[in-house]
Symmetry: C2
Subunit: 183 residues, 2 copies
């Protein structure tokens, strides 16, 4: 049950409408908890009904009309409680690793290309994160507590991408190693 808490966090950082939330998910929170506008609207409805958030009074409440939400005290409490909750990490699920294992059994002529494609994707993601880092966390502002935590989270994303880039590079090198595979 993480999506509602992701939304509460985003709304506490800044009250927003559904579409604004969607965009912010696309380029910030979504980097470690992605979502679509459909899911977000549905969840906003639930959160409002639960009394965790409320829609700011709008001049013309109607369909297709922008609706801004803000977090209520109950919502903040709910989020604070969730933060201190223990939850085991979800076991890894990687279709790429599974494909490699399958290739060990039935052979895989296209696997190499797929590894290269993933390598490129992870390289790009890594570059994007690094841009964000130099933009949002320049060396001077390392003191403030909220920024320290947000920076740690970003470093997590960066290090993860770096891990994939390194592993894929290594894997490709070993694929045409000693025995040399595909003709």
């Amino acid at each position: 049950m993480s999506l509602p808490h992701a939304i509460l966090t985003a709304l506490l950082e800044k009250p927003s409408s559904g579409l604004e939330l969607t965009r912010r998910f696309d380029r910030s929170i979504g980097y470690f908890w992605s979502s679509t506008h459909q899911q977000i609207y549905r969840e906003l409805g639930k959160l409002e009904q639960a009394g965790y958030i409320r829609a700011l009074p709008a001049p013309v409440p109607a369909r297709g009309q922008k609706k801004e939400y803000e977090v209520l005290p109950a919502g903040r409490e709910e989020l604070a409680g969730w933060v201190d909750t223990a939850e085991d990490p979800k076991p890894l699920r990687s279709a790429l690793l599974l494909r490699m294992r399958a290739a060990a059994v039935v052979g895989g002529r296209g696997l190499r290309a797929e590894l290269e494609r993933h390598l490129e994707l992870h390289r790009r993601q890594l570059a994007e994160y690094r841009e964000i880092e130099v933009r949002d966390f320049p060396p001077e502002r390392r003191a403030a507590e909220p920024d320290r935590l947000r920076h740690l989270v970003l470093r997590g994303g960066i290090d993860l991408e770096r891990f994939w880039v390194e592993w894929l590079t290594q894997a490709l090198r070993e694929l045409d190693g000693p025995g040399t595979a595909t003709p």
Copy 2:
């Protein structure tokens, strides 16, 4: 749609019953594509109906009776086709990173303990993988193609766990860094 292909791979490695599959998922394939027996039985039914696998003739076909499955040629083809399929990596979803981001907004007194708990869990997983590595991939058998690929997959799991261990260690150190937080 990876589970059916995970099952096909496992069955090609060795024909098995549903429960045997479940156990093998628990200590091998499940390391990168976990599943439960309920899901596996359901999927076995679908795969059989699709003509990808068949139940080996049993002496007494009845409920509660062991049923062994093997992969049919159509199943092998299906799997070979899937291996050469392109599929983008799923975006990361980490409740722990989300919790850190939330803690930057509402504060988190219990977060430190949770980081330590995760660190311990990842340490244990890493140790388990390493045992498997020395047991299943001793230095001498590095030539054969199927083993090379399977070893690469295992290295992926190992490196990923090592990433988490390192990142969590780093994060904990920075949490009581210059500013020093929780008493």
